[in-house]
């Protein structure tokens, strides 16, 4: 077959040739193809799933696994990365087919509540006891309390996902002495700082989960709520209209493409220096250090401004948690492994893999010298402390305030994009807010009933 120009295939490929090639490759392929099934290892194998699996985080996980395996030679732990976007599909099929992992970390708290309510999770009371409930920040596990007085999961970290990030240099240049604390201050600061191609803010207006999650925060910062504490739809109230009006008024200070912003764009808008303020988690710190070191000294954060000074701050924390699916084998070993993840030094290393973004749930670790010795955490100690405190006191749609019952439909409400659609209809399409909010309320009620 080396000189195709010469004599086109006069010698036909004989059947024998073909069969020989096929037999050989068939055997090899069969071996390779069934590689995944059945481990030849006699040790007990535990499977650990998480959607947070960047190379740095993988290193930290490997260290934790190695430590546990060294102390427990009969157990082997395998880490398997899953995806933030795809985990509902993966879980649904895994549960339905009973092919469950032993342990799952970094899912939001409302996912844990939902699965627990469906009888798909083991309570983790034992794990929390093994770790020692006093070692957590006060009330850190309340968001995981279930109606049958158990804990459906425990926190593996905290994330203060909607802090106000600002550029100190741009604030100073605009003559603003203190970071904004109310919406009016934020708006006027954005207006003053918007020039020379730099926008004032990086709020999301896209048809995605970020818009829903962020906007829920704004409803609370206007003093409202999406549901009442006993989960009646409460979105049709004045604070929602205030929040919508604010979002609308900020549209001109956000980049043109903000109507398709999701997490990635919003983050990069601020990190790249294109906006004067941002709304994000501590992920900003690592990204600025890597992608735009020039502004590293000029960034700071605070809890996001509320509508007026008398409304308390409300921070969105998705409460990345650790949960144990029901029906997976080796429950005792799994619980032991789960507890071992909180061994202070290794746990701190896990935090270091995403500094400022995944914050510790253990008080001692947050104050610990080893944890704080991480270069980014040292440099931005004030910001990290602020975020740790804000996250611990944070909430999400799964439990909007400490007084709320757990909302087991939170995941589905976010997935339905009902709230993102509300924002888009009112802000982008300029539809009548009253009609849009009423329609959204109906939609939410349907989703709660389903």
């Amino acid at each position: 077959m080396n000189q195709p120009e010469r004599n086109p295939l006069r010698r036909p490929v004989t059947r024998r040739d073909t069969l020989r090639v096929l037999a050989g490759s068939g055997a090899a392929a069969a071996a390779a193809l069934t590689a995944g099934c059945g481990s030849k290892d006699e040790r007990t194998t535990l499977r650990w799933w998480s959607p947070q699996a960047s190379p740095d985080q993988l290193k930290a996980y490997k260290a934790q696994i190695a430590a546990f395996e060294a102390a427990n030679p009969t157990i082997r732990v395998v880490f398997e990365a899953t995806s933030d976007e795809g985990y509902p599909a993966q879980f649904a099929t895994a549960f339905a087919a009973r092919q469950l992992p032993n342990l799952v970390t970094h899912l939001p708290s409302f996912a844990a509540q939902q699965y627990y309510a469906e009888g798909l999770l083991e309570p983790v009371d034992d794990v929390i006891k093994a770790i020692g409930i006093d070692r957590y920040f006060a009330g850190a596990n309340e968001v995981y309390r279930t109606s049958d007085k158990h804990y459906c999961a425990t926190g593996i970290g905290n994330t203060a996902a909607d802090m106000l990030w600002y550029r100190k240099d741009l604030l100073a240049a605009a003559g603003i002495t203190a970071p904004p604390a109310t919406w009016d201050e934020l708006r006027s600061a954005a207006r003053k700082m918007q020039r020379d191609g730099i926008y004032g803010a990086a709020l999301p207006y896209g048809m995605n989960a970020m818009t829903s999650l962020i906007f829920i925060g704004f409803i609370h910062r206007a003093g409202g709520q999406v549901f009442s504490p006993d989960l009646q739809v409460a979105i049709d109230s004045q604070p929602t209209y205030d929040a919508l009006a604010f979002f609308q008024s900020m549209r001109e200070f956000c980049p043109t493409g903000a109507s398709n912003f999701s997490w990635g764009e919003s983050l990069t808008a601020f990190v790249s220096g294109s906006t004067a303020t941002g709304i994000y988690s501590g992920r900003v710190l690592a990204n600025v250090a890597a992608q735009n070191p020039a502004i590293a000294d000029a960034i700071g954060c605070t809890t996001y401004p509320t509508m007026s000074r008398d409304i308390p701050a409300w921070t969105y924390n998705d409460f990345p948690c650790l949960l144990i699916p029901k029906g997976a084998p080796h429950l005792a070993e799994t619980k032991a492994f789960a507890a071992s993840l909180y061994q202070p030094q290794l746990y701190a290393q896990q935090m270091h893999a995403a500094p400022g973004h995944v914050l510790p749930v253990l008080r001692a670790v947050a104050d610990d010298g080893f944890y704080r010795a991480n270069p980014l955490i040292t440099r931005y100690a004030a910001e990290v402390d602020l975020m740790t405190k804000a996250a611990t006191a944070g909430h999400n749609l799964g439990q909007e305030t400490a007084a709320h019952k757990p909302n087991l439909k939170a995941n589905e409400i976010i997935a339905s994009n009902a709230i993102a659609e509300l924002v888009q209809r009112v802000v982008l399409n300029k539809e009548n807010p009253k009609a849009a909010v009423a329609a959204t309320a109906v939609r939410l009620a349907e989703l709660m009933r389903a």
Partner: protein
Amino acid sequence: MTTRRPNLLASLIAWPLVLIIAFPLAWMLLTSIKPAAELFTRTPQWLPRSITFEHYTRVLTETPFLQYFGNSMILAISTTVLVILVSVLGAYSLVRFRYRGRETLAALVLFTYLLPSVVLISPLYLMLVKVGLANTLASLVAAYMSFALPYALWLLRSFMAGIPEDLESAAMVDGASRMGAFVDVVLPQALPGIISTALFTFILAWNEYLYALVLVNSDEARPLTTGVMNMLISAFNIEWSLLMAASVMMSIPLVILFAFFQRYLTSSFGAGGVKG
């Protein structure tokens, strides 16, 4: 084309279009060799101010990229070989034989395409678990074969239908068996169709994401698509530099491979021996 002189006019029209089409690849390539600090400059720059290969090294050394690459290769090659085998025979059957229900079969085969694959995942997964194939590459091969067979069949059928029967009849008159004539006469002429079908199947198996996500969870059997995505893309953060490096490494070998194979699409293989 028998002329050896390069067609300059066609070149002048074709190449600008090719470059426009390949422009995102250029962007990916250039981004993958930029240091992270140059990713998002306020005015986007084409060319990197300094070149670094650290992202490639990181992907290759700090992640199971090579393992995923190997898995993808095995998966894609197995799927392609199996699909070609089955569909070549099937297409020949549809084109040269007469039996009851032939046309209905052909239509039914295409019918399997009409349901969106999302709703097929759960039942398929349950079935594979029962057969004991969960979490293996074999399960993906089975799934991808079912995606590829319908179009492979129809595409090959269309190619084979265009091959006149004269040569086969001549070969059979000379004493060759039906299948002998098939291998010696039809296959070589259908080669362009076979190669293009093989290409499509390979690409499908190489790039498919949703089924790979759900059907395979262990790194031993995980292919590149889900392996790379799960590691580098999460809700709050995308590791852009690593992702671009990984994507380049995922794509460029295929480009080279196919630039090589596209030779076999040329007419000297296809139409040899057939006059009008």
